[in-house]
Symmetry: C2
Subunit: 485 residues, 2 copies
């Protein structure tokens, strides 16, 4: 496609999308106006700053030659393992990432203490299904949902009743009393964006125990939040309210959810005994890990870039969100390597406790260290370390328009999809205070195959895709640090 009057190629679709391909007369007028405009004021119009084009290219050439982000992630997942808040792994991860920042010569490296919840899974999680009249018993593949109460050693038994929504549950009325409620609404596979499918199903996990308890149920089983059909249960946060009894809650693998559902469909009367040894212990101290490239002109104006250091206790949280953590460190490291000292401070933050409390994100926003600081932006990568597609902008239309003007730089990184959208959980306390939030948007079809499960391990991460995410963050942070918002 040949440029028209030095205007970038994508302008051609614009012409066409407005005028239609046959509207040559008005198209001619339009081109004339464009031409006059460009001629009239070349200083303001035309190509964006060639400096950033060059920086985008240097970031790619520097970053993609290495596997820095991947090597950090390998180290983090191998040495710390899973990093559930309050665990030994989480404590090890704090030290490991502090050390990574030190080795890369960041400024003002420090920990910011936060108290975190401590939920522990314990040794037992078991669901035995007993088929009436057959005398047989078999095991369902389950795991406790994060935050669930335990069942006691004897477990909790009950007949299973399947529902696909809270409405269905409420329609059951007394019929749910004394039962184990089995929430089995699958992901809507037709959603192109897998996060929408997740958002459309996750109420079963997060509020299922509350709603079932209101109906007198004794426990809940929740279909795992995943597109995959396999025998791996996916954990995740669930909640209680004080006004109803806290009942145990477990995720069941999608294969066993289908199995159980088919049993029920066949008219079989199904009783399950669920045993969970999980419990919540008192809060323990932990910390966010913070390091930065201090701004040369406006050191108190801060761009935060981060991910969450904690994970669930299944797999090793490679995608969720070890990836986001090492990408933030690598973003700063890339800028340092290229000797791009930013005007404003760019700060990497490893947030603690996103999964079950957001204590790190909330704590960061109000920590004493914030006094005198102005937060210009928050950037988060928490959708897996997959190939980046672009940036989701959680800010007003003026800021969105400003970032959209940088699109050509991000197109060089295959990440030109700049859209309004959600940024990230850890930076949400900043966003709520009016700070513009940015979320790394990635190719997400595979994400929920791994999410919150034993599948989330380093072998699912591609070194180039992970590094490219770090490159996109580096460029975004640097642009904001130099140009402001």
């Amino acid at each position: 496609m040949a440029p028209v009057f030095g205007v970038r190629p994508q302008t051609i679709d614009f012409n066409d999308s407005i005028f239609g391909c046959r509207k040559r007369t008005i198209l001619g007028v339009f081109i004339l106006v464009v031409q006059l405009a460009v001629v009239a004021d070349p200083l303001q119009g035309g190509e964006p700053d060639a400096r950033y084009d060059s920086i985008a290219v240097r970031l790619i050439e520097t970053g993609l030659r290495t596997t820095e982000a991947y090597d950090m992630l390998k180290s983090l997942t191998a040495k710390a393992g899973h990093r559930l808040s309050g665990s030994e792994g989480a404590a090890a991860a704090v030290e490991l990432t502090r050390q990574m920042m030190k080795e890369r010569g960041f400024d003002r490296i420090h920990l910011e203490p936060v108290m975190v919840p401590r939920w522990v899974r314990g040794p037992r999680e078991e669901a035995i299904i007993v088929r009436e009249g057959e005398g047989g018993a078999d095991l369902l593949t389950v795991c406790a949902l994060g935050g669930s109460v335990g069942t006691g050693d004897g477990g909790v038994g009950g007949d299973v009743v399947e529902v696909r929504s809270f409405d269905q549950l409420h329609e059951l009325g007394q019929a749910a009393h004394g039962k184990i409620v089995f929430f089995n609404r699958p992901f809507d596979r037709a959603k192109l964006n897998t996060f929408e499918a997740y958002g459309g199903a996750v109420d079963q996990r997060s509020r299922g125990a509350i709603e079932a308890s209101k109906s007198g149920a004794v426990a809940v089983l929740v279909r795992s939040m995943t597109h995959a059909l396999d025998d791996v249960p996916h954990t995740g946060a669930m909640g209680y309210v004080d006004s109803v009894r806290k009942i145990p809650a477990a995720a069941i693998s999608t294969l066993d959810a289908d199995y159980l559902s088919n049993l029920l469909k066949s008219g079989t009367h199904v009783t399950v005994r669920l045993t969970l040894s999980c419990q919540t212990l008192p809060d323990v101290p932990s910390a966010n890990v913070v390091g930065e490239l201090t701004g040369t002109e406006f050191p108190n104006e801060v761009i935060v870039v981060g991910g969450h250091l904690d994970s669930w206790d299944k797999g090793t949280g490679a995608h969720d969100d070890g990836a986001g953590c090492v990408q933030a460190i690598e973003a700063l490291h890339l800028l340092k390597t290229l000797e791009l000292r930013p005007k404003r401070t760019i700060r990497a933050v490893m947030f603690m406790n996103e999964e079950n409390g957001v204590r790190g994100g909330k704590g960061y926003a109000v920590a004493p260290e914030r006094t005198g600081e102005i937060h210009v932006a928050g950037v988060e990568s928490d959708r897996g370390g997959f190939a980046p597609r672009g940036i989701a902008v959680q800010a007003d239309s003026t800021i969105l328009a400003k970032v959209v003007r940088w699109r050509s730089f991000f197109e060089k990184l295959n990440a030109g999809n700049i859209i309004p959208g959600y940024s990230g959980v850890d930076i949400s306390p900043l966003v709520e205070k009016g700070v513009p939030g940015f979320g790394l948007d990635v190719e997400n079809h595979r994400y929920f195959d791994y999410h919150h499960s034993d599948n989330d391990t380093i072998d699912k991460v591609n070194p180039r895709e992970l590094e490219l995410g770090a490159i996109v963050e580096a460029l975004l942070c640097y642009l904001i640090a130099e140009e402001g918002l």
Copy 2:
């Protein structure tokens, strides 16, 4: 981002990229012109045909609900296994895909015979490295390159000399005589597009034996064509010319390439004995598999969509190119399911023998069945069954501009990246005759980790990503079938 005067959101970047954000006056004039244009002739301007928007949505909702493409690929790879031209697997694949077309009710299903080369690997491929002075020996992980001559039972022995380019080889002069030349130039990791990295290294595989033989070498070892650092050799086509002696050629895993290189760097004198039992047998009959949705208005105007049915004899060719084959079948199946009977014929072709001869592609273009047919377009998916990014257009600027005007439909499929580029090997004989070619452009960072190796198996394919590629092809074919080019 709020639409301006009903104009699509991306118009905003256009304004900005031309005028700069502060150029409000001229922006005002521009918007006025747009507004007048839209008001002046609403029938010609404004939004593109809402019908295709709706079709894009229906294709997603129909396709992504299923795992049709994946189920076909599972069947193909499990039942046929690898499908090297002339192998039993290739013959089985012809029958399997013909059957898949039958089950889906395609029109005019038939085979178009082609003669294909028959190269067989044989039972032995072995490279033993002997370290001088130590008396030890160890095995390097190698596999014969496709088309290589064998070594005879005794193998071929020689000292190893490493080069990274043909220039380096030629500088060696007589020093390469009687040696085994080890081509060890790695992929340039800094290339964002992995196909560029491949293109920058693959001369070592394709022409290495010719150039080394000219220098009097007795065999070649070629670093595997991959970004991955692992112990899996990657095969692929290599050639000879009649004017120089044909010497054996093998790929060596990247780990062992590094190992061998480090040995040589340390000053160790390294001798290798290479034994390959591969050989080329006489050509055998095979076939392209063809089925279509015959056009309702212009049945002799044809849009071909395909992939290649043959694979290398490592792994099961899941990404290369089982994916492209099942996507073509699924593209037609989706249109049938939605009862979208095209005006022009949309034809799925499973091309035979892309990997080592392109006999299928060449044969299709000149087959007797082509008499009276006009080929409007060729569409190929042969870059792996990964998440689609867009469409590479190998055609003149008028056709490119036409397809770019359809971008908004493809953006609905996360595949709006419509760019000039290469289409596909199998349709290249059509493209050479002036037929516009279209290649499915995909997220390609992982591709060469699997390509032409035992790694290329169904577990590396994500059902949603694969299906989405089929959806993109369905939409592209249908648009061309309805609108022409």
